[in-house]
Amino acid sequence: MAEEKQKRVTDIGPPHYEKFLPPVIKENYGKWKYHEILKPGVMVHVSESGANLYTVRASSSRLLSIDKIRKYADLADKYCDGYLRFTSRNNVEFLLTDKSKIDPLIQDLQVLGHPVGGMGNSISNIVHTQGWVHCHSAATDASGIVKSVMDELIEYFTEMKLPSKIRIALACCLNMCGAVHCSDIAILGIHRRPPKVDKSRLKAMCEIPSVVASCPTAAIKPATYEGNPSVEVIEERCMFCANCYTVCPAMPLNDPLNDGVSIWVGGKVSNARSEPMFSKLAIPFIPNNPPRWPEVVGAVKNLVEVWAKNAKPYERMGEWINRIGWPRFFEMTGIPFQKEHIDDFKHAGLTFKRSVHLTY
């Protein structure tokens, strides 16, 4: 045992990335000249040296078994000398130097159930969170909605027929591990019922001052319950952010009758053409309807298709809406406008229409 202890190493950090780069990348690192999308899911990078690097991008469920990862490894061995990578949107990419191997690889990926695509003017993979698979504060599942939406929209992943790229993201609560707040379409799990204070356990589990301080709207105040310190929630001040639950497990917000999904539109992170933008509220609430959330799928599909039909080339969702204006957005998508769409948090006035630039 003592020997074991001595061998314990810490703080070594991740392995150096150079170990995992294929020779074509090592040789052409920083020397890439241009790239070209050859067909959906396939691109070539051309180096100043004349070398070509082909990338084949395949879809992934992000939640992967080790069996599947081993199959990816086998494909990498078969087609690309064992080299592959994953993308910032959780796709898997195979890195080839032999052009003739592209189609057989795509065939094998099809058989494995991982269609190729997600490049150029398409819908790439939906960045998402853990949901009911692994999270304590989820207001909805993540993987199930993603699977249902992508099954319906798969043609926009495997083809490039949209006006521009469109980025969809899902976060299962306001903590937004997936940072969905700057997406063309964001699917966001929301709670709608104030926390139910577990009075008998609160004292043992939580620090009262930090629970009180955690609330951004001062909706929590100290109280006494059967002679013990506890807290009380001023319900009309609660906007369901779940900050209190994060610091105190005795303040759960999860509630099957009231939890569900909201949909946001028009955000982007790229600086191309317009500056980065936040997503804005499109649909305040859709109830959870597992296993396939047909209402959410329908709403997302409608947004994608109304945008695709009306946007000019290169126009992202938010750029299209900025051109046509929000009244026409609501009209064209058929989404009813209601009180919840109007901001009433800090600096809300900045989001009011402060001109007569209107269309009739």
Partner: protein, 406 residues
């Protein structure tokens, strides 16, 4: 031992369709692994009841580290005993998410032995996620990970695992070496990454160009985005090729330029580079003809975050342009000054962006010794409520503004 297969009619629906199915992944793992089997059962229950069944975290981890493991327990431990503990390990990924088949197999072997056999490739912060194991397995997993050269990533109020786009490894637009900087920062801040000592989390994200493929401007306390300050490089023959091949240069390229700094006379593109805002649109549209200039570096922005606690923020400009080359002294000095001010004065669970909102950007800049410049703002303030810090007094005034008694 033949156990009757658990019925999961709701989840079975999610095996259908063309998109890769996470349910198939869990079922594959469940054939050999009782944890994955119980995960399937508990998830089916969530689908029936429309509610999650995981308890709030709990402090678990490996010796000497304060982060890297997320404690997770089932709230139905009697029914699903194999997920009574179901802790997640965050494993610091190699920069750019490049792997060899060999190293992936080694990671799989470790997880086959010690956990559920389920992963995320990757988590939101960029880490490899090992999804679900018991407390007593944490040290053995950690030992085997370090044996093959891997270490845990960040969680809680620490430096989170830095991540980046693939940069110079496979992109002609990379204006600095994102992977080199990511590796450098990860190694430089190992202590801060493993031992939470800040008011809240701190994220670095490195994007090689203003397209920002890693969304750094939306979700990192320090967003380091590649850019350039000289002229866009142009291959005139390639421009002509694009025109010949049918690209509508006037409408699609020039017409979409936000700075209106381009002209097309049917033969040549002229760019007023002084007016160019480096948005990338023309370069994205004509990658064979146009590329970023030669004087490349990065813009450093600060403060983005998701809504919790006080509302979502985008990062804003702190240093408009910096050359980023080893040993990165200027950058490290800046980060250390920021960390010092924020760690000293930030409130519990206050991200640096919210800290800046509370104390004021002007005061923050003074504290970190950075001069205010107009590149930092969209426009000057619109309200006259200025906190002037000094005023003149008449000779002989006392502190109340009254004339002193003679």
């Amino acid at each position: 031992m033949a156990k009757e297969k658990r019925k999961t009619p709701k989840l079975d629906e999610l095996e259908k369709g063309k998109w890769p199915s996470f349910v198939k992944e869990i079922k594959t793992a469940a054939e050999k692994n009782p944890m994955a089997e119980d995960l399937l059962g508990q998830l089916e229950r969530s689908y029936e009841e429309k509610i999650g069944h995981w308890k709030h975290g709990g402090i678990v981890g490996v010796l000497g580290y304060g982060g890297g493991v997320i404690g997770r327990y089932s709230d139905l431990p009697e029914e699903f005993p194999n997920v009574s503990h179901f802790h997640t390990l965050r494993i610091n990924h190699p920069a750019g998410w490049f792997y060899t088949s060999d190293v992936l197999r080694k990671l799989c072997d470790i997880w086959e032995k010690h956990g559920s056999g389920l992963t995320n490739m990757h988590g939101s912060t960029g880490d490899i996620i090992f999804l679900g194991t018991r407390t007593e397995e944490l040290e053995p997993v950690f030992k085997e990970l370090t044996d093959i050269g891997f270490d845990l990533g960040g969680s809680g109020s620490d430096v989170r695992t830095p991540s980046c786009c693939c940069g110079k490894a496979r992109c002609e637009w990379a204006c600095y070496d994102t992977m080199a900087l990511t590796y450098f920062l990860t190694m430089h801040y190992q202590d801060e990454l493993h031992r939470p000592a800040f008011p809240y989390k701190w994220k670095f994200k490195m994007a090689g160009c203003p397209n920002d493929c890693v969304a750094s401007i939306a979700r990192s306390d320090m967003s380091i985005i590649g850019t350039w300050r000289d002229e866009i490089q142009m291959d005139k023959e390639a421009v002509a090729e694009y025109a010949k091949s049918g690209l509508n240069i006037q409408r699609d390229v020039v017409g979409n330029c936000p700075a209106k700094c381009m002209d097309w006379d049917g033969k040549e593109i002229k760019i007023d580079n002084k007016a160019c805002v480096k948005c990338m649109h023309c370069i994205n549209t004509m990658p064979k003809a146009l590329s970023p200039g030669k004087d490349r570096g990065a813009c450093i922005l600060i403060g983005s975050k998701a809504p919790i606690v006080e509302g979502a923020l985008l990062s804003s400009v702190l240093i408009p342009f910096i050359k980023l080359e080893p040993p990165y002294t200027e950058l490290i000095d800046l980060v250390d000054r920021i960390h010092e001010v924020w760690a000293e004065n930030g409130k519990n669970r206050e991200r640096v962006g919210e800290f800046i909102q509370r104390v004021g950007m002007g005061n923050f800049l003074e504290a970190i010794e950075v001069e205010p410049i107009p590149q930092m703002i969209a426009h000057p303030r619109e309200n006259p409520y200025v906190f002037y810090e000094e005023y003149y007094e008449e000779d002989g005034e006392d502190s109340d503004g009254q004339e002193e008694e003679k």
